[in-house]
Amino acid sequence: MSGQDSNDLAKGRRVHVTGLLTSAFTAISRKAHAHGIERNINFKMQFMLLFSRQGKLRLQKWYVPLSDTQKKKISREVIQMVLARKPKMCSFLEWRDLKIVYKRYASLYFCCAVEDQENELITLEIIHRYVELLDKYFGSVCELDIIFNFEKAYYILDEFILGGEAQETSKKNVLKAIEQADMLQEEAETPRSVLEEIGLT
């Protein structure tokens, strides 16, 4: 869109009006997007973000259909807002018509956006249970584990929460499912030489 605008500007006055139309249309699409969230008000959890103190996104899970641009904009906005909070402040924030529930674990922020009627405390414990699952799986989890094994972090999340709802809250059962999958993996895996690995990078 911005490339479009600058093109328009370059073409001079005639296109100036077009630029206006473009912005009118941007406003429209923004509105449509606001509606998107509204219409999907039944989606209890709308998204989950994990990000570092420096604001680097480490994991993002979206439970509502949004475009990539919208996702980027929302992440930026939410991250900025949460990072601006001071330590002793409460873990809940109102944002648009949603509630942001967040908690910091070491260098990593875990942050969920839930619909405004949703139970804040139970969401906070959803976050904690996910941290416990990661911790148990990776053995004292740290940010690096999530960076290097992001796909695992996604699997664990999928086993725990599906479509924005808690699927299995028992720590034992979730880990059992992941372990079973890992077993399958091991059986299927054929050993390969280090050289081959490096040669392929």
């Binding site: 009118a24 804040e120 960076i147 999928d158 479509g163 299927a188």
Partner: protein, 963 residues
């Protein structure tokens, strides 16, 4: 121990991630990524078939790059290939890539669906779960079409593994949310409900989410779930903390399931069955009791889980709103949290109490915590908690504590965060009005509000105080006195000057007896602020001055002196200059009687709902976003207009006519003045009528511009008329209903601006109009076709009488505030012979008049056309040609419509396409048009697309009559 060391990691991926992390700059990172992308691309394109492992690794790298925020435009096919791999990890990566990157309208969806279908029928639970997770993650309509029939079967089948059931339940829920029409529960309903009884707690946890959603939509079909939910809840609540093994979380049995059960029950009214209800009340009591027990663990997770259930139980109690005991108990327990050391609990207690305050049973109990809440407002360090405290004070306010609460909120305002000030101001204003027993308190409060937070006092607030003062004569003297005192402050807010100017202009005489506030003192006080104020305020002050001349003849010479000074009479601002000139003239030539009539005290405002309340509602809702957009739209409009062009325009028009002698409408701002006269009887209508003097003179009027009720407040017509006409006589008849042919007459003017609007044997009405942006000016010409005079034509703006054969002219200024459907009505009454003629026409103002043509290239046109693809954004009509299909005529008509006619855009040269933006004050609505003539069939197909559905519809209706 961690699985990552099990040797399944992808070394290449790890190396790549390390490389990225070691990049010192953004540029280096992009460079490294581009290198990797080129590498992967060449591998995917290479002749050598890649083995599964390499494919997996590269797909995973692509995913990582995407998650870093870069665009990925290849690799989808390779990911889809991975889905059919027999190796679990390859399949897994394939599914992950698809879940994250594939959007619903991808062409690959058919291939993906195929792979999913295979996995669903594989009977391998791990594979089935992967497939179900993918459906739940993507959740597209195509997937719903493919699997909505299959998944319920998997969910209720006896031999399905528990873990698969869990995934199936939530997968179905996701499909139901995107495509409810495709998920037909019918025969499965009762078996799904009975999943609440399942042995496996995980299955219940997953299934209950599905059941809750379905119950919200079909409460009757699912109502058997109530008793099942109650018994499940009761078993959990009464269980010992160890009974549920792994579903116990920090000594709290199944907190997630408990919350979900309590949430499900909130879909229904209290159970009718006494036994069920008794059991449920018992549960709720147990939950309240348990919350009071000493904690079993010091961990915050323990108390959070316990309190999560407590808050959910309280929500249910509030939802039922029928158990006074429970409500009061809930309130007391929340009261304890108000001073808890956990910020989270204080926040939630304040929030929950807000809803308790609205129940008649617990309102009083909530009120007992007033001191604590006030204290929270003063001392909480977190602004979101203070916000909750302010909300709660607002919710618990009633007649008994209003003065205290308003005083506290006012004092909080002095230090309040900027982010919440505007809302606080609105709340104070509403409470002050709602619970005002004596209006002097109300006036004090609002003036304090302006003093403390003047910048945040919106127009609605100060309009309202003026309306109330005008309508209640018992408070007028007090208001004058107070505002006079407030103006003594060396620096007072401009809003205070506005209120002061208005009130002293109207009621300054009530305090003039005191030598300390003698007329001249009042005037000097007001005038001392004059030079610090903005133009609109100065304009208001000038009107106040002319009112002073009427109220206090002794100030006349002083004020005339001021009006005569160069800084007024030659002011560079047209509006100020015009007022100065006119007021000066008026004060020197009009007799005292005329002056007294013209400048009479304002008549009472019609009673109506406070506009402040409407504003607060708007602020609170999700509408907040759209308000910003509107404002943004306005700014954009402003830029294009070249700043004050619009303002200049309208004042220029005003200057060409003598403006109204009475400042009545102007005093509240030119455009948004409340309906001050009988001429705008429809409450809330934004139409500032053409004849603002009518109110002052308290007389009838000839023409009556009034938007039909459906479109009230959408169009504003404003027309200062000729001021020196004689006072009119009274016409009591109501306006006639619009003529039957008025629609037809209106249609004549859709594509042209000038012509004869109406003609009968007596009268001809001609119209000339011009439009620019969202403003328009219309000249109406009334021609007398007979040879006798029309007597008693009480046009204030027009000459009172029209000589035979003569013509008089009237000017109407129009501003389009937002889009509208119906044209405003023009009511005309005059006497011919002895008979009163009364006719109502539609004024030919249609939405297309506010079009701004937009030129664009073919590519842009179709891109925008596609952007407007939602069904309601389009309006289409196929109709028979009413006129000859002449290309030139069609072109002329389309140009007359106001849009830009775009050449060489449509591939078919027979077709016409147009583009334009409708300019309204509130927003701009981009519209595109396509007209496809079919010469053989003598038919047209007309398609309109615009960002606002009402606009498409209206334009389509209007245009279908034109060709």
């Amino acid at each position: 121990m961690p699985a990552v060391s099990k040797g399944d990691g992808m070394r290449g991926l790890a190396v790549f991630i390390s490389d990225i992390r070691n990049c010192k700059s953004k540029e280096a990172e992009i460079k490294r990524i581009n290198k990797e992308l080129a590498n992967i691309r060449s591998k995917f394109k290479g002749d050598k078939a890649l083995d599964g492992y390499s494919k997996k690794k590269y797909v995973c790298k692509l995913l990582f790059i995407f998650l870093l925020g870069h665009d990925i435009d290849f690799g989808h096919m390779e990911a889809v290939n991975l889905l059919s791999s027999n190796k679990y990890t390859e399949k897994q990566i394939g599914y992950l890539f698809i879940s994250v990157l594939v959007n619903s309208n991808s062409e690959l969806i058919r291939l993906i669906n195929n792979a999913i279908k295979n996995d669903l029928s594989s009977r391998n639970p791990t594979f089935m779960c992967l497939a179900l997770h993918c459906i739940a993650n993507v959740g597209s309509r195509e997937m719903a079409e493919a699997f909505a029939g299959e998944i319920p079967r998997i969910l209720v089948a006896g031999d399905t593994m528990d873990s698969v059931k869990q995934s199936a339940a939530l997968c179905l829920l996701r499909l139901y949310k995107t495509s409810p029409d495709l998920v037909l529960m019918g025969e499965w309903t009762s078996r799904v409900v009975h999943l609440l009884n399942d042995q496996h707690m995980g299955v219940v946890t997953a299934a209950i989410s599905l059941i809750t959603c379905l119950s919200q939509k079909n409460p009757d079909e699912f109502k058997t779930c109530v008793s099942l939910a109650v018994s499940r809840l009761s078993r959990i609540v009464s269980s010992a903390s160890t009974d549920l093994q792994d579903y116990t979380y920090y000594f709290v049995p199944a907190p997630w399931l408990s919350c979900k059960l309590l949430r499900l029950l909130q879909c229904y009214p209290p159970p009718e069955d006494g036994a069920v209800k008794g059991r449920l009340v018992e549960c709720l009591e147990t939950i309240l009791n348990k919350a009071q027990e000493p904690p079993k663990s010091k961990k915050v997770q323990h108390s959070n889980a316990k309190n999560a259930i407590l808050f959910e139980a309280i929500s249910l109690i509030i939802h039922y709103d029928s158990e006074p005991n429970l409500l009061v108990r809930a309130c007391n327990q929340l009261g304890q949290f108000l001073q808890h050391r956990e910020t989270n609990l204080r926040y939630l207690a304040l929030e929950s109490m807000c809803t308790l305050a609205s129940s008649e049973f617990s309102h009083e109990a909530v009120k007992t915590h007033i001191e604590t809440v006030i204290n929270a407002l003063k001392t909480e360090r977190d602004v979101s908690v203070r916000q909750r405290a302010a909300d709660l004070l607002y919710a618990m306010c009633d007649r008994s504590n209003a003065k205290q609460i308003v005083a506290e909120m006012l004092s909080y305002l002095e230090t309040a965060d900027y982010s919440i000030r505007e809302e606080m101001v609105l709340k104070v204003a509403i409470l002050a009005e709602k619970y005002a027993v004596d209006y002097s308190w109300y006036v004090d409060t609002i003036l304090n509000l302006i003093r403390i937070a003047g910048d945040y006092v919106s127009e609605e607030v100060w309009y309202r105080v003026i309306q109330i003062v005008i309508n209640r004569d018992d408070v007028q003297g007090y208001a004058a006195k107070t505002v006079f005192e407030a103006l003594q402050a060396p620096a007072c807010h401009e809003n205070m000057v506005k209120v002061g100017g208005y009130i002293l202009g109207e009621f300054g005489n009530l305090i003039a007896g005191d030598p300390r506030s003698s007329p001249l003192v009042q005037f000097n006080l007001l005038h001392s602020k004059f030079h610090l104020c903005s133009v609109p305020t100065r304009a208001l002050l000038l009107s106040a001055y002319i009112k002073f001349i009427n109220l206090f003849p002794e100030t006349k010479s002083t004020i005339q002196e001021v009006l005569r000074s160069d800084s007024q009479i030659r002011n560079s601002d047209v509006e100020l200059q015009q007022r100065a000139v006119e007021y000066l003239k008026l004060s020197s030539i009009a007799s005292t009687d005329v002056l007294a009539t013209v400048l009479e005290e304002m008549p009472p405002f019609p009673e109506r709902e406070s506009s402040i309340l409407a504003k607060l509602k708007k602020k609170k809702g999700p509408g907040a976003v759209s308000v910003n957009e509107l404002e943004e739209g306005k700014r954009e409009g402003g830029e294009l207009n070249g700043g004050g062009e619009r303002g200049g325009d309208s004042s220029a028009i005003a200057a060409s006519n003598a403006s109204t002698p009475s400042p009545s409408a102007d005093l509240l701002g030119l455009r948004t003045g409340p309906p001050v006269t009988a001429a705008a009887p429809s409450a809330g209508s934004l139409l500032v009528d053409v004849f603002s003097e009518a109110g002052v003179n308290d007389d009838g009027f000839l023409r009556d511009l009034e938007p039909p009720t459906e479109s009230s407040d959408s169009l504003l017509a404003e027309g200062p008329g000729d001021s020196d006409s004689a006072p009119p006589t009274v016409v009591s008849e109501d306006p006639a209903p619009p003529l039957p042919e008025s629609n037809e007459l209106l249609n004549k003017f859709v594509c042209k601006n000038n012509g004869v609007l109406f003609e009968n044997q007596l009268l001809q009405i001609g119209i000339k109009s011009e439009y620019r942006q969202n403003l328009g000016r219309m000249y109406l010409f009334y021609g007398n076709k007979t040879s006798v005079q029309f007597l008693n034509v009480q046009a204030k703006p027009v000459e009172p009488l029209i000589e035979g054969g003569a013509q008089v002219q009237q000017v109407i200024n129009i501003e389009c505030l937002s889009d509208f459907m119906e044209a405003p009505l023009l009511n005309i009454k005059f006497r011919y012979g002895g008979a009163l003629q009364n006719l109502t026409l539609k004024l030919p103002v249609t939405i297309n008049k506010f079009f701004q043509p937009t030129e664009m290239a073919s590519h842009d046109f179709f891109q925008r056309w596609k952007q407007l693809s939602q069904p309601q954004q389009e309006a289409q009509k196929i109709f028979k040609a009413n006129h000859a299909m002449d290309t030139e005529v069609l072109k002329a008509k389309l140009l007359g419509l106001g849009m830009a006619l775009l050449e060489n855009v449509d591939p078919n040269p027979e077709n016409f396409v147009c583009a334009g933006v409708i300019q309204t004050k509130a927003q701009q609505v981009g519209s595109l048009l396509r007209l496809e003539p079919n010469a053989q069939a003598q038919m047209y197909r007309l398609t309109l697309r615009s960002s606002k559905d009402t606009v498409s519809k209206r334009l389509c209706e209007l245009l279908a009559e034109q060709f």
